[in-house]
């Protein structure tokens, strides 16, 4: 009983380690192809469009609503201490350091990550990747790396847009609706927020961009070439990305505080 349990635990540990190793090797392979891909920048631009520009609407809408909720909740909380004027700094710091990068990464995994994974999985299932191999074209270089880079480049920009719109959302609720003084809102924000806070958010979203894109292209590229396999790959993309983003968020926050 105990022996079989230990064996099972060891087994799953082995599987997890194996997956980690496979991810690392794939990542190294992608990095090796990056310089050559940058020479054909048109391909990357196309993918920045797919991953970034097409996610813009959902990111902006979500940013607005998250900011408005933050304005409402923050006002309610700060009013108890009689310091509603701090709403600006509270909302800005919360958005820049946490909610901007994290929520953007989660939305990215749901919108762009699944699109990437299913696209690559479908290319695998319909032999498109094998056909490229046969045309002496490396599918990793031609298809995977541009998509990876597109995701990596889009994420920090999306997060910045999210945070900015979120701040305006908080301002909308706090100042226009709840009557916090506009000057206080902005001046407190500006005195509290430091350059490092913005950078913390940028660093986070860069890390999230790399990991979310890597997970999406890995799962898509290695999808089982059936309809079911493609579906599974997209599900795995969302699940793994979300967990990894939250885990990394904790680690990064602890490292940068």
């Amino acid at each position: 009983m105990l022996a079989s349990l230990t064996r099972e635990i060891l087994q799953s540990l082995r599987v997890a380690l194996q997956a980690l190793g496979a991810y690392a090797l794939f990542f190294v392979r992608l990095l090796g192809e990056v310089p050559r891909t940058l020479l054909r920048f048109g391909l990357v631009v196309e993918q920045v469009h797919n991953a970034g520009a097409l996610s813009l609407v959902i990111i902006m809408l979500s940013g607005l609503f998250v900011g408005m909720v933050l304005g409402l909740q923050g006002f309610d909380l700060l009013e108890r201490f009689g310091s509603e004027e701090s709403l600006g700094s509270a909302a800005a710091l919360g958005l820049l350091k946490e909610l901007g990068p994290v929520v953007t990464a989660l939305l990215f995994a749901g919108r762009a990550g699944t699109a990437l994974a299913s696209e690559l999985g479908l290319m695998r299932a319909t032999d498109q990747l094998a056909a490229m191999e046969m045309m002496a074209v490396d599918p990793v270089r031609r298809v995977v790396v541009p998509r990876f880079l597109g995701g990596v480049l889009s994420m920090p920009l999306l997060a910045a847009i999210f945070s900015l719109i979120g701040i305006f959302g908080a301002q909308l609720v706090g100042v226009q609706l709840m009557g916090v003084d506009s000057g206080q809102f902005w001046s407190q924000m500006r005195s509290a927020v430091e350059f490092g806070d913005v950078m913390e958010g940028v660093v986070k979203s860069c890390v999230f961009g790399v990991s979310c894109s890597l997970i999406a292209v890995y799962e898509g590229y290695h999808a089982v070439p059936t309809a079911e396999g493609v579906g599974r790959a997209t599900t795995r993309t969302v699940v793994i990305s979300s967990v990894v983003v939250l885990l990394l968020d904790y680690l990064l926050t602890a490292a940068m505080l």
Binding site: D127, A130, M134, A136, V137
Partner: protein
């Protein structure tokens, strides 16, 4: 192309136990066999997508197993391959699909590229469809576009993987005719993998019949059809029972009915 003593196994299951093939320049060779005998696997071995356990595969005198990755890519530029469903790139239109290998491997000026692409599309009768997306094509058209793409680099060897699956009789006739015509007019060597015995025998110069990990019969289609061996006869004439049994292995019928599950 020469294959000698090819062995390959996957997941502890032996798929090939000693296969010899000889494919002559300029001929159309059919590779036939029941489902699951590893016909597609054989193609992957021939094109260097898989590594054989044992045996020699020579393409134009070069041993595929000894080629580096770059060498395999160089070899593949002289090969064209047609996948079961065409495997067109779904985000590019017909024109760009055919142009794809040229754009990847050459720096032809746009005008010249256009000439080449349109000529190849004309050869398969789809010059008028160059603006369509793959999703708008019928199965037969998709396969013809894939043929145009496969010959755009002027290969010496063209490989077809199950080119007849799911085609209506007209499209099938077109594809069949094209295989022969492209082979003769472009001076290619063609390998066609299929289990459509009758269709293939009209175009093939010689046939190989695979079963149980080895070649069980070979020769021109005519001699294969008159072969008297049981397993060859069953496949060539589509007999329901024979060495490949109709019944899945089961206990005695009456015995099983008596048991309460």
């Amino acid at each position: 192309m020469r294959v000698r003593g090819l062995h390959y196994s996957f997941a502890q299951r032996a798929i090939f136990t000693g296969i010899d093939l000889d494919i002559d320049r300029g001929s159309v060779t059919a590779v036939m066999g029941p489902s699951g005998t590893g016909k597609t696997t054989l193609l992957r071995l021939l094109t260097g997508q898989l590594q054989a356990d044992r045996g020699v595969i020579e393409v134009e005198g070069e041993d595929v197993a000894k080629l580096s990755r770059a060498g395999i890519y160089r070899m593949r530029r002289r090969m064209g391959m047609l996948f079961q469903n065409g495997a067109l790139l779904t985000d590019l239109d017909v024109y760009e699909n055919v142009a794809f290998p040229l754009r990847e491997h050459t720096r032809l000026p746009e005008r010249l590229l256009r000439h080449v692409v349109l000529a190849k599309l004309q050869a398969v009768g789809l010059r008028g469809a160059y603006r369509l997306m793959p999703a708008e094509l019928s199965g037969g058209m998709a396969r013809r576009v894939a043929m145009a793409r496969a010959i755009v680099m002027d290969p010496q060897l063209l490989i077809y993987d199950e080119p007849f699956v799911g085609l209506d009789p007209i499209s099938l006739g077109v594809v069949l005719r094209l295989i022969r015509r492209l082979n003769d007019t472009l001076g290619l060597t063609s390998i066609v993998v299929s289990h459509d015995v009758h269709d293939l025998s009209t175009v093939a110069d010689s046939c190989y019949l695979l079963s149980g990990g080895g070649v069980i019969a070979s020769g021109p289609p005519g001699t294969l059809a008159t072969d008297t061996r049981e397993d060859v006869r069953q496949f060539m004439h589509g007999l329901p029972d024979g060495p490949v049994p109709f019944h899945y292995p089961a206990p005695e019928y009456v015995e099983q009915l008596r048991q309460l599950r």
